[in-house]
Symmetry: D3
Subunit: 138 residues, 6 copies
């Protein structure tokens, strides 16, 4: 079993803000992340696929194909977008890095299986100091 990882990036706006809460409560829980007029990040996404290398090509999965798949299902929907407003697969969800990583897993898992791979993990950096990892329903 070998694990191969592809990095992709996207730049997006979001806010952490619960509409049914007061501004004070949003500020207390989410701090400056609740700024009503949004803020944004350069996100870095690492998608890891596992499997045995093909005996002929030496590939677990063609990373060019994985890259195209990530772009179609994830990056094109998130890059230069507002995560709260513009992204179908985040509709009605809190755009924390944790929830976003789980939603990206849902976008990719079946697609990668259909392409002959097996999704192992999603790692998502919000800043150089903060990141999350998700391995599916362990």
């Amino acid at each position: 079993m070998v694990f191969v990882t592809r990095r992709e990036r996207f730049n997006a706006a979001h806010k952490l803000h619960i509409p049914t809460w007061s501004d004070e409560k949003n500020m207390e829980v989410f701090g400056k992340c609740s700024n009503p007029n949004w803020h944004g990040h350069n996100y870095e996404l690492y998608v890891t696929v596992k499997g045995n290398p093909d005996p002929v090509t030496g590939f677990v999965m063609d990373l060019k194909r994985l890259s195209v798949l990530i772009k179609e299902k994830v990056i094109n929907k998130l890059d230069h977008k507002n995560i709260n407003l513009d992204v179908d697969f985040m509709s009605g969800k809190m755009p924390s890095t944790e929830v976003l990583a789980q939603a990206i897993w849902e976008q990719l898992a079946d697609e990668i299986t259909a392409a002959g791979g097996h999704l192992h993990s999603i790692k998502l950096y919000e800043t150089e100091n903060n990141f999350v990892e998700y391995f599916g329903t362990l």
Copy 2:
């Protein structure tokens, strides 16, 4: 003459969009950066001050003091904000990285002079692939 540099970071939303233009023209000129619902970045700011090291302390300028000054005049106004809507010193300006770097220079130059230093340059990264530098009115 020695040049000392302090890095600070901020996360902000913006869009490149001219209201008097049609959506088509905005898209043609600014591409996905014109997304009406904003996008955002992790900006990295490098502020360089020049001078002769003090013969006693060995400092061109106390970087702790420079850091406080940058935070007060720049970071606190930009971090987790919308550059188009929330930032007084960017009001009425196009929030391109070029214009933002020039505006940050204006925020800092006199303050650094008052603190006994001499501002040399502003370097501002929007992404790992794109950055600008400004040296004042050469």
Copy 3:
């Protein structure tokens, strides 16, 4: 289960030196790390906490709170200090990166539990070429 990680940094001096050994033996085992007058590093610390995201906030653990906790229990005691001489929780211990990572775990595990989280791992970089990871008593 989602894993969230916070990076913090500290700059410290140390030496790897066993007082009951001769200088020759210290040099043989620890090489230049045994320099009697100390040397130092910019350490990078990654603290990973695991859990299920809160259904309302989307957080496994508030990273601002985790950051405060790491600063109080670890960074403030290590930053700009001598690990051999100044750090209560390293007293009498060899300040190798391995032992330091284990001691940081001890500093944080119960505090994170008390804050409603679950410490998963400590990752500690001594240089860009050398780092260690500790997952508690597996």
Copy 4:
């Protein structure tokens, strides 16, 4: 159990090309990686060894010794070489990152055991966007 990691680097040429296939098929499967006249990379190799820190030295394994071992068995054979043509332990193998990581494991596992350590993983970056990990025959 603590995990210690040493990073080493090498610069090498390779191509992904199956001689019994037509140029068209090689291009279709391997894309620009099949360029007949080679291309190359700055590879980054992370070797992770696990164990309990020695109660006297605080070391899982002396990283200086690990570094020497990696250089002798891996780096000296790969650095500034052609992976397809010059590297004995890759002879007859497809020089994909996956296969190369597995071959590096074979080069190191017994040597590290003989030195009193226990190899845990090989992580190999081909570019900043592509890397693989191998943990032996799990």
Copy 5:
């Protein structure tokens, strides 16, 4: 005057080898860089353009357009190629980083002028430890 920079990357093979010299002399002067079967690098290229930001768009030069130009004139000719054998604009030249940076300048300077910009510098990383900069015929 503001300076804007775009980073692009390419992976290529090369060797530093003078055919009219003996292997011994090549090894003496170029060391392992003279390996007959080539080696390679992940090059990082930084192209800096200078000018005054357009009063309407805030751009010194559209970085999307600059990126396309760099890809057409430089990256597509170098990426996954052999610099000694495959690159028209390096034909008959020593593929040192210095000479390559100068040749990239020649590829881009007039094109950038035609696009309304002014090329300021080429910065080219061969490894994380070695890079060169060229500012034209100062």
Copy 6:
């Protein structure tokens, strides 16, 4: 004219502390950098040499030779040392990054001239957030 740069690294201890000042004044001016028992850093040093590439080798200066020279005159004296106590060329000097960069210039300028090169600048990182540059007596 082309500028070539070599990066080298060293890990050292220091403190910013003026013995004739009270502890209070040292703390007021130098903050935690004045900790009596030292602290330390992973320094990164960039040495830039300028010149015209040799028409035969394509080199401004052989970077292997430059690397050896930097190691002999600078790194071997600083790495795993105490800058206040162990380094001959810093004796009696305040070990600020500014003063250290100037002293490294003095160590290297004539040596590089003797080797046929021309020293252009010394860039020295103390942390990822703080660095200085020195260009000699401009």
